[in-house]
Symmetry: C2
Subunit: 420 residues, 2 copies
């Protein structure tokens, strides 16, 4: 066994032991530790910001994109948001021990399905330092041990946040192995981690396309898979133009670096004459590059021509692809063909068109007359999220504390045996 | 692209197209097709049994184990059970379209979580021909298209069942691609299938250890993972001896080839003096080979010595490992260390010991005073099952029609945009 294998196996064993303890820890104690961690982050805010400044300087020197730097950046408001996020998680109902269903069989067996922690959650992420606090908090609340593997870009920020968290957790008597960081920057550690199926129950990759692709290819552990967020907004023929403008502008431009940002605007042929030009002009006027089909180019001469690749691109930037489609069925087809099954919105006053869209899009989140930027666990009222899953199994859409639980069947009898 | 790749891709594309149609098919039409398939199986019963006789003869010539032959064997009762299974599935509530949760956010967004089909389910199985009917029926009911890859051992039986099914499905106007079999016996087709992640949403491996291990290693598609069923029955110090005897005998010997069969008997040190000897003697007298620790060997001289490997072996045969442990905590430790997270039972009159056991065992199903052989979707009242999952994600324990659904979030607004 290589040194790295030994190191990671030991980490996994400690996590498994901590997980067994956390699974039996009462809600009161977990919430206390979460609040203590929030306080520790506030107390350490200056240290965290100093550490982040180091990461930002290194990131700028390294030539990270604007979108990546936006993800990396912390300021006092974002640090406070992390602390508040932990307190909000503490305030959520305990997801462990809920009876999800119960019934009695004719033979008298009483069966219940009870929520229990997943066990050990591995999080592999890149530049967002707040993932450290969010992930640790969500895992703790749901009774899971966490193994965090942050990117080198956010190393100083994450380490400073981690120090605060572990201080809060251990001050409340919970095991310090409840949250662990992989103690090496060796990239090979990720490969080892992805095969530790005896000690890690689920892997959550958070980061860019190449990170996720590597994890999908190498992991022998189930994933909460977040592929790209190629999100669409479809403006239907029956859309109110003012509503369409406000939803599209927000969906694209509120924050361009988030996975719920709209990347493609589809406009119904039926309203192209009235709606296309104002929508395209609005986007360009607000500083967005528009890459469109020939109708979009005709609508505003500042539109660049779109290539086939644009329909399947997650820009994470002030760029949008624009296409005219022939009605809601064509919009659904386009989305199911080119999208990433993340989040799609329709703007329309026509309930039937909306129903066709909501049913037809094979995506985690479908919205009617609302911005795709609502694709967020907090906005859903689930507290902070560990990610948005574009996979279909177990967790789809925002992954919050309930999604970090599994269940077991508890069967109570009086000596029943199975006949036959 | 190789011929095999092309063949499988085309199969996948047809399945995806059928899945889009099935997702929107009303319950009435799906149930009609299920009942028609059941009738077709009854009408074809003689053909199915003749086909099975061919498979059995080939299996015996090939020297398949008794356990495998038991899985392969069909008789009129088992054929009728398949047909009845399909009718029972038809009678279940439709799992698609259920509102699993709904709430309204302060900003007026109305959010609901709605059950939708997974899409395309791939089933890779070995010798059990009834999997063909069960899997097809469960997928159809849950609005999924199925791609079946049966083992060569059951080829004739499965083909005959398939013919009946497709007849029933198409007679009711549903697409014949709702259920497809991989049209080649080339083993390499499995490897291609396991990477068809654009067209298959989940893979269900059904079969022996080497099949499952191959699927786990090669699949880039999420799995409903069924590892081994190393199930335990723990006889606690406070167990009623008569109940313990009846539960243990059933748990081990009712059918030894099923995954819910108990493979290890743990006996509390506190009752070893009174309970161990009668339990071991009963098992040996009923034709079970007992491999025990030194206390079990002392209790009955016919006991063979257990090796370390016996604690982690799924015999699927009339063999049991027996060990004396020091109380319920030690039993839980043994099970979490050596088990496969499938199904475990405790026999005790002590509610506190039962609670410790039910909470502590990290297994899909935990039973108190009942036989581990109840680990079965039908016995749980879920209708036929496509398998028992020992994984923790999405489906744990029996995988029935509800577990073959995922969900989407449907969000209805009135032009909301996200601030900040």
């Amino acid at each position: 066994m290589s040194d790295l294998q030994t190191l990671m196996t030991e980490l996994g064993k400690r996590a498994r032991a901590a997980a067994r303890q956390l699974a039996l820890t009462p809600a009161f104690d977990k919430n206390k530790a979460l609040r203590a961690s929030a306080q520790a982050i506030r107390i350490d805010a200056r240290l965290i910001l100093e550490a982040n400044a180091k990461d930002m300087a290194a990131g700028e020197a390294k030539g990270l994109s604007k979108a990546l730097l936006d993800r990396l950046m912390l300021n006092p408001a974002r640090v406070e948001a992390m602390a508040k996020g932990l307190e909000e998680i503490a305030a959520l109902p305990d997801p462990v021990g809920r009876t999800l269903a119960e019934w009695t069989r004719p033979n008298g067996l009483a069966i219940s399905r009870v929520a229990v922690p997943l066990g050990v959650v591995g999080i592999i992420y890149e530049s967002r330092p707040n993932v450290t606090a969010d992930a640790a908090g969500l895992c703790l609340k749901s009774g899971n041990a966490a193994i965090l593997r942050g990117g080198s870009e956010s190393f100083h920020s994450s380490s400073a946040i981690m120090t605060a968290l572990v201080g809060g957790i251990t001050a409340c008597g919970l095991p310090k192995e409840a949250v662990q960081m992989v103690p090496t920057t060796d990239r090979a550690a990720v490969g080892v981690m992805l095969r530790l199926s005896d000690y890690i129950d689920v892997i959550v990759p958070r980061g860019g396309k190449s990170l996720v692709a590597r994890v999908v290819e190498e992991s022998r552990i189930p994933l909460f898979q977040h592929l790209e967020g190629i999100c669409h907004t479809y403006v239907d023929g029956a859309a109110d133009l003012e509503m369409a403008k406000q939803v599209v502008l927000n969906a694209k431009m509120r924050r361009t670096g988030v996975c719920g940002a709209t990347e493609t605007l589809l406009v119904d042929k039926a309203c192209a004459k009235t709606h296309l030009k104002p929508l395209v002009a609005m986007l360009i006027d607000s500083g967005c590059e528009v890459r469109g089909d020939h109708l979009a180019q005709e609508a505003d001469c500042r539109t660049l021509p779109a290539t086939e690749a644009d329909w399947s691109t997650e820009y994470l930037d002030s760029i949008i692809a624009v296409k005219v489609v022939d009605g809601v069925a064509a919009a659904v087809d386009h989305i199911n063909t080119h999208g990433s099954h993340h989040t799609e919105a329709i703007v329309t006053e026509d309930a039937k068109a909306a129903e066709t869209f909501l049913q037809g899009c094979d995506s985690a989140i479908v919205l009617w007359n609302a911005s795709t930027q609502f694709a967020d666990g907090g906005e859903f009222g689930m507290g902070a999220e560990i990610g948005i899953s574009t996979g279909k199994l177990h967790a789809r859409g925002p992954v919050g504390v309930e999604q970090l639980c599994t269940f077991k069947y508890v069967v109570k009898g009086s000596g029943q045996v199975r006949p036959g």
